[in-house]
Symmetry: C2
Subunit: 393 residues, 2 copies
């Protein structure tokens, strides 16, 4: 019996803690090799550059860094982010809203657009923390059938016609959880449908810069006509460092004002210290060179994991080889239930995330998400050996 | 005509941008003396201590500071905050949820407890950014008649009986906007009513440590039986620095889990850099000595403003002399409308916040909030001279 005088809001009846976060709480243990989190390898952080950036900020403009500031974000940070985004899509500083990481951006977009009961269309499977954020705003999540290239255009058109969604949420580059990327031709088909039906897009692109192979594909927001009906989300977490909690939204028109008012209500402004430190880093360090270092390390790890898995997976099981990002996706097929198997894997000393929480509906229980970025190839090999033991491959 | 394809959520129909934030955007001008914001004097920040704290964190544990972390907050920060809170109320580290400033804490508490249409009881007048945060969760705000000592106990009991509120929101110490403090005897009466009716309390205490005169009054949360039905909110913003965006909630039981899940959805965790820097500051610097320096400066400024106002205010106007905090409250009385007068004041080179936005209902349009902490006594004198000219005193 709950004897507390607090009566929790109904929105917490259906919103569960993130299974990924809950698994991460377990896998802090030293004896477990974790493929579970989307955790960058801290060895690759530019620690000296960030130390220098914070030092410069705190020694040269402490009074500003420690003070209140505007809700939209520090001007020089927005200028630098806009310049970087403009490589893909012309962007001005006043089209940028700084957020405390991608997660806050997803939450703000949901809050700005979703009334309780409104439909948001998502990929199948999709990023589960986005589902959590939209659900708290009252969204009803509807999955659009998807293949290895993302949402199926005909299915998207049908779902828009049936549900009149408030927006469509897509992660076109190296999607979380599957690692898949939507090719340019599919992006054009999707844009056509969104433009024709005037359906807004929340395009989430935390991983796009982490490409190992092939050619970059322009964001859907950059296709003709799409910029005005897209909120494009980026983050420092995967390309610089998650601990500073800096993300940014790019949008145009009225929605920007709603995002800013939401940001006021949620936290006034992102930490000024971190905003200025990230700006200092962007202005004085070579982010592209850092990304090149990170992607060449991650490429080797991806190959170690994909090749290692292909050597041990039983017949009928499938694993993809993503062209970038942090995750790959395994479908074991048949009656295997990866959630049921997780305790055995943890006992064997290896962690992953079962695939089911990433489905807004009808999960494939034989799937799992593995991250290849946190561990070296040697550790990946040992982790896969443990995984094979746990599953009896 | 709005030609955007974005259809904003209805929660943004009634939720307006904060008038304080909008005034602050104007008063960035060098030629305006601002009494408007609750902006600490940056000259009083312990810039060297914070520079040293960030330097220690980034040079000694960068890999941790730049990485993802747990949602509840860094353990050593929670330990240090719990130890400090325990001076007033026994608190353990696991009863602390770190937030990105007070504002996020208010938002999380509203989201955890409020279903659309639920009533939240507030003081008359009350802190307007709290109203904004609760409104986004769907709250209906109901004002409880209040006097110079806070809410009137009989009126509180009647409002609880009539509205069955999800919680009561109070700022018992040096309230924003009025600067008033609830005496111990009133706190006991309020606690009796809350306990008898099993009504939860959100006790917001960002200013309590900034006491200039008189004896500290224990938080309502510390009265017998109240800890279990109170969420107690504190912040680094007013006693250390707002730019780091670090606040903390103290709670017990189920509500802690809802606050943590909400925090996950809103932003995963507060900036790890700032959490560790604040922890380093608390462990290695003398916060009490800093607070003593700040309060002795603020005391002089409060007196400069109160005495200066009393010398110029017309007959019938009232100003209080708060025992601490950042704000005082002026009631001009009669037909004066301080919102209408604001453009004249800005033209004369002085800014304040009109009182009306702080009322959830039936505003007294003759009121204004003045902050005495941002400016030196000399600047305060000049600002009051401009105010007198603008109002024709």
């Amino acid at each position: 019996m709950n004897t507390s005088s607090f009566r929790l809001a109904n929105r917490f009846v259906d919103v569960k803690s993130s299974p990924v976060r809950d698994i991460l709480a377990v896998v802090g243990r030293e004896d477990i090799i974790s493929f579970a989190g989307g955790i960058p390898d801290a060895e690759l952080f530019e620690a000296a550059d960030f130390a220098a950036a914070f030092d410069a900020v705190l020694s040269q403009q402490a009074a500003r860094a420690l003070q209140y500031a505007t809700t939209q974000g520090e001007p020089e940070l927005r200028e630098l982010l806009a310049a970087r985004l403009s490589r893909q899509l012309p962007t001005t500083a006043d089209q940028i809203q700084v957020t405390s990481g991608s997660q806050e951006g997803l939450f703000l977009a949901g809050m700005a657009l979703v009334d309780p009961g409104d439909v948001v269309l998502v990929e199948q499977p999709t990023y589960l923390a986005a589902v959590q954020a939209f659900s708290l705003a009252g969204a009803r999540l509807v999955s659009v059938p998807s293949d290895d290239h993302g949402v199926l255009p005909e299915a998207l058109a049908a779902a828009i016609a049936e549900h009149a969604p408030k927006f469509v949420y897509l992660v076109p580059n190296f999607q979380n959880p599957t690692g898949r990327t939507m090719p340019a031709s599919r992006r054009e088909q999707v844009a056509d449908i969104l433009l024709r039906t005037r359906t807004p897009l929340l395009e989430d692109d935390p991983y796009g810069a982490l490409r190992f192979d092939g050619e970059p594909v322009p964001p859907i927001a950059s296709l003709p006509g799409m910029a005005a009906q897209t909120v494009l989300q980026n983050s420092a977490s995967k390309i610089m460092a998650p601990g500073v909690r800096i993300g940014w939204l790019r949008a145009e028109g009225d929605i920007l004002r709603a995002l800013e008012i939401g940001k006021q209500a949620v936290g006034l402004q992102s930490a000024v210290t971190d905003q200025l430190a990230v700006a200092h880093y962007l202005a004085n360090c070579d982010l592209d060179a850092h990304i090149a270092r990170v992607t060449s390390a991650y490429r080797v790890r991806r190959d170690a994991m994909v090749d290692g898995l292909r050597a041990v997976l039983p017949a009928g099981a499938e694993v993809n080889r993503p062209e970038g990002g942090m995750f790959l996706w395994v479908r074991l097929g048949g009656a295997v239930d990866t959630a049921e198997a997780l305790p055995r894997a943890l006992a064997a000393g290896v962690a992953y995330v079962p695939g089911w929480p990433f489905y807004a509906a009808e999960p494939d229980h034989s799937t799992m998400r593995l991250s290849y970025v946190t561990n070296t190839p040697e550790v990946i090999a040992e982790g896969l050996a443990r995984l094979a033991r746990a599953f009896g491959w």
